[in-house]
């Protein structure tokens, strides 16, 4: 049976949804072993165990996380050698992709990023040109390294939970590395992360600096708040909220575009969303061409009414 090594990075108090999806995908491909870079408490390890994982590999030194990317790649390479894994699964954050990149060179193994579907023969499906093409590709080397997009696979727990056994691995850090000298946590919004959110309410130039009605609707729907580049460049919302060609590419179940005209760069970041709703004052906005439901109207009256209606229906 193929050994599937799942890389988990910053362990939180409990497994993130995307981490559950990775473990579940791994279990469908073979026997899952975990390589865990961060610190984990018992609740987190129990979560890992609920996917039938028997072993969790950890680096024997905290230095792995104090250097940029190279340390985690060296640790993961060691874990692949130790386990003889044929498949390595990682998340799809920028850092995860870079760890995959360095790991690929270390192992002489092919890397496919942004995977949204995977056949039994490991043919991976991804979007190219920001969602305008669907591409099937395969790794031609013995080891396959895949970074998997959130919301692409279901998280199904294994039948028999286990208590994973922890194994410490010695890691040789590369000589030349960049060091992380400081880290400042951003305030927690309580909303889901953009990449993982089922619902996204995104605002553009038309919100004119006031994201309050978008935040209220997002909260009523349990969603995240995103923005076009015009809105982040104007400083109305932080840059990590940016969706589009040069920001994040998202594909939620529901994308509500508010006061965004829908220039091609914006469309590029969201056109694979399952359902698109657009609200804009300008009836000629290109975003209406791809919207399943479009409203020509003032967001400052439409959004509060929708939010109120959701509350009224007790949803």
């Amino acid at each position: 049976m193929t050994t599937v090594l799942v890389f988990l990075d910053h362990a939180g108090a409990s497994l993130a949804k995307s981490e559950r999806e990775l473990l579940s995908l791994g279990a469908s491909l073979g026997e899952v072993t975990v390589a865990l870079a961060g610190d984990a408490d018992q609740a987190y390890l129990d979560g890992v165990g609920s996917y039938g994982v028997q072993q969790v590999y950890r680096p024997d030194s905290a230095a792995v996380s104090e250097v940029l990317v190279a340390g985690k790649a060296a640790f993961l390479a060691e874990a692949v050698r130790t386990t003889g894994a044929g498949i390595v699964l990682l998340g799809n954050s920028y850092e995860a992709k870079e760890i995959a990149a360095r790991l690929g060179v270390r192992l002489g193994a092919g890397v496919i990023t942004d995977v949204v579907a995977l056949a039994a023969d490991l043919t991976a499906t991804k979007s190219d040109f920001a969602g305008s093409y669907t591409v099937d590709c395969r790794v031609t080397t013995d080891v396959a390294i895949l970074t998997v997009k959130p919301n692409s696979f279901d998280a199904i727990e294994a039948g028999g939970p286990s208590s994973p056994h922890e194994v410490r691995l010695p890691v040789d850090l590369p000589a030349a590395v960049a060091r992380v000298t400081g880290r400042v946590d951003k305030p927690v919004s309580g909303r889901p992360e953009l990449a993982e959110a089922r619902v996204i309410v995104a605002g553009g130039r038309g919100v004119n600096g006031d994201f309050t009605p978008l935040e209220a609707l997002a909260d009523a729907l349990g969603g995240a708040v995103g923005a076009s580049r015009a809105a982040t460049d104007a400083g109305w919302i932080e840059h990590s909220a940016q969706i589009g060609q040069t920001g994040k590419t998202v594909s939620p179940q529901l994308y509500i575009s508010v006061g965004i005209s829908g220039a091609i760069q914006q469309k590029a970041g969201m056109q694979t969303s399952k359902v698109i709703v657009a609200i804009n004052k300008d009836a000629d906005s290109p975003v209406f061409e791809i919207a399943d439901f479009g409203i020509v109207g003032d967001l400052f009256t439409v959004l509060p009414q929708a939010t109120e209606e959701i509350r009224k229906r007790g949803l």
Binding site: S93, Y94, A101, Y133, V135, T140, A176, V180, G297, D298
Partner: protein, 274 residues
Amino acid sequence: MDEATAGGLRIAVLVKHVPDAQFDRHIGEDLTTVRTESILSELDEYALEAALQLVEAHGGAAAGHRVTAITMGPAAAVGAVKKSLQIGADDGVHLTDEALTGSDASATSKALAALLRHLGPFDLILTGMASTDGETSLVPAQLAERLGLPQVTFAASLELTPGDGDRTLSARRDNDTYAETIESSLPAVVSVTDQINEPRYPNFKGIMAAKKKQIQVLSLADIGLQQDEVGLAGSWTRVEAAAPRPPRNQGTVITDEGDAGVRLVDFLAGQKLL
């Protein structure tokens, strides 16, 4: 690449000629990207601007600093280098060879690593955060691994503390949940985000000056690589099929007559999205 040059900084900026995202982009029957309507990748302009600002902040060309724009690809790819020279790079290099066609990230990073070794040493190798065609962000990290260099990736700010042989680079990196400060010695591979600066446009003087700047054209043999080490033969991944995504059909568009918020909720309920 081991020793940084004393005195002037030598900066390599990797630039890519990519299909213009303003137009429909295509994958051909041979499963490689169709490269018509191509331009200098927008994301590489930030890397070039970062290089020019670093040089200008430390004495400019008079201090012996040099910015070299480097690309690989077919004949037309030199367009990205020419534009870079107009914007302000000092010289350019174009690696071109039929055998490079279809290179994936691993083969691309192998060719670029060999090219940089051949041209080097460089103090700094700057790239954009991703190409706007492949969009994988794999190449900068793979280059760093192949060259045995530190990587400072997704830098949203960049500063250089000068000194002879002991220059240090500091950068800020923004994540969804935290912001990091990074320090590295030189040489290093650095990729920058679109938050780092406002790229300048070429002006008339720059366009005229670019005509006198040199572009060195090299082949695989010149940098000591075999044909089967790159291109489709040297790639560790293979594209097996590519299909354009079916266009989205336009749905219902209504004009608000005072009840659009309620109708929106009706629509969401109908789609089982509440």
